[in-house]
């Protein structure tokens, strides 16, 4: 007996978004409203890393990759690109990669120089965390598209984890969360639970309860995160299945 995800999801109150952010963006592509722009900007900020990884894998130098990502996202956010997306099909992930491929084909050094000279506006990507450095992103044997998908999947988990961490940090248990994080996906291993419990001066029961709650939180967070990038509830599970397949290869 398989569980239909939609019935359950729809019965549950949705914590953050009435509709998916991506569907909002795709639907309102024609009108470049302020809220539309903010939603897209937020999405782009979260998922610039796979784009960068793809470009590096394609053989771009670090400087070129940096420039392309910057100008591509700027252009995308300024809604010069979204209108070309087909909102009925495609997810944010596929849209972004297709757009990037397109953009890169048209990208020329001269255009870039003009852009940088004439228009100094930059998308505020969260480079602050990096201290100004872009990640090295070494080139390996993977195909660029696969690398993009893989990075996307990992990026998504990271964003979800950060969501959970923010929530648990807000509840004043960030420290415990950092310790228990590696145990979230593992099978229930009594020894490691016991170890964490004794190091933090808690009972094993308390550790188990915390693990249980955070697993549920993480589950919700991943679904929320994916919900942002797909058009409807039904696609969440499809996307999950796809990303799992990408990672399992």
């Amino acid at each position: 007996m398989s569980l239909g995800p939609d019935e359950n999801e729809e019965a549950r109150p949705r914590p953050r978004f009435a509709t998916t952010q991506w569907s909002l963006v795709a639907a309102a592509a024609e009108s470049a409203s302020e809220s539309n722009r903010t939603a897209l900007e937020q999405l782009c900020q979260q998922y610039w890393q796979p784009l960068y990884a793809w470009l590096r894998q394609e053989g771009c130098s670090r400087e070129d990759a940096e420039d392309i990502v910057q100008s591509f996202l700027l252009e995308t956010i300024e809604s010069r690109r979204v209108e070309r997306a087909d909102p009925n099909r495609g997810r944010f992930r596929t849209f972004l990669l297709a757009s990037l491929k397109n953009y890169r084909a048209n990208w020329r050094r001269g255009e870039r120089a003009l852009k940088r000279g004439g228009d100094a506006q930059r998308v505020p990507l969260d480079f602050s965390l990096l201290g100004g450095d872009w990640p090295a992103e070494p080139i390996d044997q993977e195909s660029p598209d696969r690398k993009f998908d893989r990075k996307w999947a990992l990026c998504l988990i990271e964003n979800s984890l950060q969501r959970v961490a923010q929530r648990s940090g807000a509840k004043g248990r960030g420290d415990l969360f950092a310790r228990l994080r590696p145990l979230l996906t593992g099978a229930d291993d009594a020894d490691s639970q016991q170890q964490v419990a004794s190091e933090l001066g808690l009972t094993v029961g308390a550790v188990r309860v915390a693990l249980h709650r955070w697993r549920e939180d993480l589950r919700q967070a991943i679904r929320e995160e994916i919900r942002q990038t797909v058009l409807n509830e039904r696609e969440i599970d499809e996307e999950l299945g796809y990303l799992m397949a990408v990672l399992s290869e």
């Binding site: 007996m1 359950n8 990640p135 950060q162 697993r215 993480l218 991943i222």
Partner: protein, 694 residues
């Protein structure tokens, strides 16, 4: 790339290339996986709707219901509007779970129909039709249906939760008194008649479907559901589970032969079987003796039994109400002995007490038993009583489970290594007792177990003692009574004391106290002022007499007395004089007059001037005491009427402070006594009960 971009606060070293493998899916975890999590499992977790990838729903449940029952957790996920707690029973039709509806905060029973039925054509429509019909059956002796629906291929019914046992469990716990048997049968008749009037036939009357709640009231469950079981066109298949086979004993002959032509008289036949079994302890199979042949006191019921068990429907009673009347007639027969236990199969062991369902006799842990959880707190003997032990007492099936953990009372932190669990089988318990003390409420368990109860108080071997908080008294009584019911001890009293009874008990206890406090108030308001007036008039009467010059030697000491009094209270006198607006000139005059007192010559006017402020003082203090007395009287009123606890406490404190004459004559004792009584839990609770509430 993630190595650097991961915020330092998250503190994971991801740069190292150690390939760890996931303990769940055995895949290698990528070196750049965020947080060291296995990403595949993380996605799997999100997809499967599960808490852990280990418990996939496909494994939890197969289509082979009822062999594979959905777990309460899975049901909670499928039906998010309910909190499904535990499985409480499995029948031929499906499984019943205890659940809670958080929105309305009420307990419910959730019946999941076996998926075996769902395979039948158009089952969902038939189910919906029946459920709507059942929802209309609103009767005190019929389990109400609140809602129904279908989720993931499971049809479910949301029903009233009956906290009690079924008649089968009641029978196996020991014989019911004959009169109670007839009362039950009459209630069943009443419910059947109601349902038959609505056009609903039960089709499956049997002891398992007759429930008895905590107050011993009958509730009939599963009305009309049997109709769904059998396709009306074909005879009942014999390939059911054990439970289905069991019900054949209660089925009317026409139900087996021509299931299509079954009417309400089939229920009357089934009721006859139940009645026969309740009276004799046996089933009416083959050539069976009538109840009166087995026990002469049941002779008046022979006719009733014979007529309900007629093979031909038209020769039976035609209405359930006729059975009810016939039973009523038999009950009033002189041969019938109401207190004698019915049935001859088993000696009457323990009288059936509805509040204490015997735990051992139940196939599934009854919800009422599992619910009894009582927290306790005791000093921990293993640390020399320097720490406290918190714990819980609960009954699980036939064991008393004691879970406990020690905590440091000063820092209120848990102590590691001082927690644990003891399981004490009910068969090892020889006695259980609970006493409602003034401040501490001890619950004692005497047992024959040789286990070492480390961490718990064992004042002597074979005895465990727990201290129960005041707010858990009722739970503790329930728990103790359940243990006592299971081990054959008679239940302790005051189990379900009604609020008004509690209040009147407290009222009786506080009555004497109220009178004592009103006496203290009376001393202040009446006795003391009267004394003052008497004293004052006496004192002002003596000096008003003209001095007798012939006896100067007597007047002399009198005068000197006056003088000493004046001089000691001189400063006070001046103060009060200023207050009363006395003229400064008068003061001076008096000051010059005082030395002349030594002469013993006429200075009477000066003396009256001295007495005036004292008089005012006296009036003032009397007034204050009078006020205090009035307040104390109001406190006494509160005590006598068991109202306004806080005011009563305040007045008790006022009563014991020795600033008023009443306190000195006994108010201190009354105040302390009243404080102690008011702090007592049972009295404190009584103050919160509305006297007009029924």
């Amino acid at each position: 790339m993630r190595g650097k971009s991961w915020p330092p606060a998250m503190g994971m070293a991801l740069d190292h290339k150690i390939m760890a493998s996931c303990s769940t899916c055995q895949r290698e975890i990528p070196s750049d996986a965020p947080g060291g999590l296995c990403p595949v499992c993380a996605f799997g977790m999100a997809r499967s709707q599960g808490k852990n990838p280990a418990d996939q729903p496909t494994r939890e449940m197969t289509s082979n219901f009822p062999e594979q029952l959905p777990t309460p957790e899975l049901l909670s996920r499928m039906l998010p509007q309910f909190e499904v707690q535990e499985l409480i029973g499995i029948g031929g039709m499906g499984a019943v779970y205890r659940a809670r509806q958080p929105k309305l905060d009420r307990p419910i029973a959730l019946k999941i129909m076996s998926s075996r039925f769902a395979k039948q054509p158009a089952f969902a429509e038939r189910f919906a039709r029946e459920a709507r019909l059942l929802a209309r059956l609103n009767h005190p002796h019929i389990v109400s249906v609140y809602d129904f629906g279908e989720v993931n291929g499971f049809c479910y019914l949301v029903m009233e939760f009956v906290d009690g046992i079924n008649l089968r469990q009641a029978i196996s716990a020991g014989k019911l008194p004959a009169d109670e048997v007839l009362q039950i049968v009459q209630q069943v008749c009443e419910a059947l008649q109601f349902a038959h009037d609505q056009g609903v036939v039960h089709r499956d009357i049997k002891p398992e479907n007759i429930l008895l709640d905590q107050r011993g009231r009958v509730k009939i469950a599963d009305f009309g559901l049997a109709k769904l079981n059998a396709d009306p066109q074909t005879p009942v298949s014999l390939t059911g589970t054990q439970q289905v086979l069991g019900t054949f004993n209660y089925m009317a002959p026409e139900q087996l032969e021509k299931p299509g032509s079954v009417d309400h008289r089939a229920d009357i036949y089934s009721l006859g079987v139940v009645l026969y079994e309740l009276l004799t302890g046996e089933l009416p199979i083959g050539r069976f003796p009538l109840p009166g042949e087995k026990q002469s006191q049941f002779a008046p019921l022979d006719q009733v039994v014979a007529r309900t068990l007629e093979k031909e429907p038209q020769r039976r009673y035609q209405q359930a109400s006729e059975v009810q009347t016939a039973v009523e007639v038999a009950r009033s027969d002189s041969r019938f002995q109401p207190v004698q236990p019915a049935g001859g199969r088993r000696p009457a062991a323990t009288p059936f007490v509805t509040q204490t369902p015997p735990a051992a006799a139940q196939p599934y842990s009854s919800p009422s038993v599992a619910e009894a959880v009582v927290p306790f707190r005791i000093g921990n003997p293993s640390t020399g009583y320097k720490t406290q032990t918190d714990g819980m007492l609960s009954l699980q099936k036939d064991e008393l489970v004691i879970t406990y953990s020690a905590r440091d009372p000063f820092f209120n932190t848990k102590l590691l290594g001082h927690d644990g669990e003891h399981r004490l089988p009910l068969s090892q318990i020889s006695a259980a007792d609970f006493k409602e003390g003034w401040f501490a409420h001890p619950l004692t368990i005497k047992h024959r177990s040789l286990e070492d109860y480390r961490g718990l108080i064992t004042d002597k071997r074979g005895s465990l003692k727990f201290v129960i908080a005041s707010e858990d008294i009722d739970d503790a009584k329930v728990l103790v009574n359940r243990i006592r019911g299971a081990i054959g001890q008679s239940p302790i009293a005051n189990l379900y004391e009604k609020p008004q009874e509690k209040r009147s008990r407290a009222k009786r206890r506080l009555h004497g106290l109220g009178i004592a406090m009103s006496l203290v108030g009376f001393v202040n308001t009446a006795l003391f002022p009267a004394l003052m007036i008497a004293l004052f008039s006496l004192r002002s009467g003596v000096p008003s007499m003209p001095p007798d010059p012939s006896v100067p030697e007597i007047s002399q000491p009198l005068e000197s007395n006056e003088v000493t009094e004046t001089s000691t209270s001189e400063s006070e006198e001046i103060r009060s004089a200023l207050k009363s607006g006395m003229q400064r000139t008068e003061l001076e005059e008096r000051a010059s007059a005082s030395p002349s007192k030594q002469d013993g010559v006429s200075d009477r006017p000066a003396v009256t001037n001295v007495q005036k402020p004292a008089q005012i003082m006296m009036i003032l203090t009397t007034a204050i005491f009078f006020g205090i007395g009035l307040l104390l009287l109001s406190g006494a009123h509160c005590l006598l009427n068991v109202r306004h606890w806080h005011w009563a406490i305040a007045m008790s404190i006022l009563c014991l402070i020795p600033i008023h004459p009443g306190a000195i004559v006994g108010g201190i004792v009354v105040g302390i006594w009243s404080l102690v009584e008011l702090c007592r839990y049972s009295n404190r609770v009584a103050f919160t009960i509305d006297p007009y509430e029924s």
